[in-house]
Symmetry: C2
Subunit: 256 residues, 2 copies
């Protein structure tokens, strides 16, 4: 059984080896720059950990896992644009629009989404691309709420902006492993909990969202109960869930 | 046999009846606004005219044809943004970023691309979505050249930015109709010619591109020879190509 670190290495290697549509020309540089930002690759690792726990073929799942990372990167590139969050830095480096200009960053984001779908469509089963596109649309709905609805429902915003891609990381892993739909419920419930946990910890680290609305103790309590619920969900999953538990710990105790 | 006008009516009716992902919330308004701009729907009509000429089921093809229009609209919404062409108007109305703000227009473009793929994925055959995504990536490569490469190869820019979506309008029509790959060559050659013709006429109408580099007579001559070549390609296609000829005339003599 591969540990989370090994799954992450498999994703990193695949992302580095990706060939993009040749017609993108030099735009490819902006895609690679944005993908090489050294994130934790939590979504693709989660997907592959589900595949492994459910007895699927991890190698077969790597392109779909990378597609999840491409969608996530697309969302970051567009989120960082001046008309959105206007972030000049992303993980200690200039964000894409600072490094390449706004127009190029816009197109790089578009191309990352296109390449994500293209990767998902390398499978015979179109359901993988369907799950990815549905999650992407949910995530875009979350971004829309984020920029337009200051006093809105934070839980719903999180469920969409962060949760939908986490949920589909689990959902795509299940589909890759051939887990029957009636058996998917506890896995999917786990996906919802780890997505929520990730977002609460994110708010703590960034000092915004929940962390700006509630006392620090209360937010930490919310994180711990989300982590407990995620672990509880794994109790009723049939499979070797050691790596998934490792991921819950990694998300709970992450520092950036 | 349905005339181009009837095919366009079928597309308009389908576009109006589209249901978008509910999670988009109010962002849907910006998608509908951008789709209701009253364009000629030349790409979806071309796709359906190919289906009709090749003996396929036009009704079955309507969602795929609409998906082509969604991709085209996505490209217009992003092209109009201040960081790209910075166009405040689109067909006599405020462009999306003027009407809704830059951030919302950005997300509306993203969502239009997502919804286009979702529509293409309603078919059992994932090849329809693959053809659409490949064309989208080619088009993005053309947009990239357009904003970065002032003295570049105009023919290549046109082939990508305009031509790829025209070519896939024909390609998707062929796939919907079950035309065997060995029989597709003349159809696809026709698609390349009508795409080129469309772009030359566009340059004449806008007074840019070819029209800014060559004398007016020369550009008109190029348009007429492209139209002649498009008609020639149809001579060797087996099918009732009357509506496709009608489209060549409509593109040649269009006035806006």
């Amino acid at each position: 059984m591969r540990r989370a670190e090994e799954l992450r290495d498999a994703v990193e290697a695949h992302l580095r080896s990706l060939t993009f549509a040749p017609e993108l020309g030099q735009l490819e540089e902006a895609l690679r720059y944005s993908l090489e930002s050294g994130g934790k690759r939590i979504r693709p690792v989660l997907c592959l950990a589900v595949v492994e726990a459910a007895g699927g073929d991890v190698e077969h799942g790597v392109p779909a896992a990378s597609a999840l990372e491409l969608v996530h990167t697309f969302s970051l590139v567009h989120d960082d644009l001046p008309s959105m969050d206007d972030d000049a830095e992303r993980r200690g480096r200039p964000s894409a629009h600072v490094a390449f200009g706004e127009g190029v960053a816009l197109l790089a984001g578009d191309a990352l989404l296109g390449e994500a779908i293209r990767l998902a469509l390398t499978y015979d089963d179109p359901g993988i691309a369907r799950e990815l596109v549905d999650a992407t649309l949910g995530m875009i709905g979350g971004q829309y709420r984020d920029i337009t609805d200051d006093d809105g429902d934070l839980a719903e915003l999180h469920r969409l902006k962060t949760g939908r891609l986490f949920a589909s990381s689990v959902g795509i892993g299940l589909r890759l492993s051939g887990v029957a739909v009636p058996d998917q419920a506890p896995w999917r419930a786990f996906g919802a909990e780890i997505g929520l946990l990730f977002q609460i910890v994110d708010d703590i680290l960034d000092g915004d969202g929940l962390a700006s609305r509630l006392p620090a103790d209360e937010v930490k309590r919310l994180a711990n109960t989300a982590a407990d619920r995620a672990r509880d969900r794994l109790e009723v999953v049939s499979g070797d869930t050691r790596v998934l538990r490792e991921l819950v710990d990694a998300v709970t105790f992450r520092t950036g």
